[in-house]
Amino acid sequence: MAAVIWAAFHWAPLAAGFKGESSRILFFHVPMAWVSFVAFMTAGVQSARYLFGSRTPQDAQLDRSAAAAVEIGLVFATLATVTGAIWARIMWGSYWNWDPRQSGIVVVLLYYAAYEALRQAIADEEVRARLSAAYGVLGLVVSPFLYFVLPRLGFSLHPEPVINAQGKMEVEARMLTVLLASSSGFTVLFYWMHSLRCRLGAIAARRLEEEN
């Protein structure tokens, strides 16, 4: 099974780490951050399909899919932030520095936490789906800026950048392989969790209908 293959990949990080033991955590941190981006892009695409696709019964499923993607994306983004902070502590001595990359992911967390807050605030199903979908599509614009533009820009904001986290690309081939393997593993994990979450949501919705 795909899951087993991916699980096997994570033995590799132990073999290929070149830097100190501590930077092994990068093999989790970077893929998780990347997958959270994928998750939010998925949410955005599903939201767009909900808003702009032709009206079919699968509408509600698209909305559930977007919401599920955001939930899981938030989980991965939080884990990425935490692992990033741990790594920062080991490498540079403090958990938090308002390094541009750290700030970027925090704002992402805020953005999608707001998505959840928005969903909570609206009772009507259809209105909730429509408005959160709009917000989700807006996320397609905002997220790339937060993930990729803001971190690069940030160096001109701070007088002296304390951290140059992930500023340089991993050149060493073995590290790259492991990173890619780990990323694909985490992506598989995401899609698996996502499909489970969607199915669960569908069952809950069906149950609700049967009661009414």
């Binding site: 899951a3 699980a7 994570h10 990080p13 132990l14 489970l196 069952i203």
Partner: protein, 36 residues
């Protein structure tokens, strides 16, 4: 942080646990879906 053995052990525990848990979830959901 911990030697290679320690890291392997943690990895093993986390990943096998996660996979098993997700498989169980999958089974449970499939049962729920089977109900009319």
């Amino acid at each position: 942080m911990g030697g290679p053995v320690w890291v392997t052990a943690v990895n093993l525990v986390i990943w096998t646990g996660l996979v098993l848990w997700l498989l169980r979830l999958d089974r449970r959901i499939r049962e729920l879906e089977r109900e009319p």
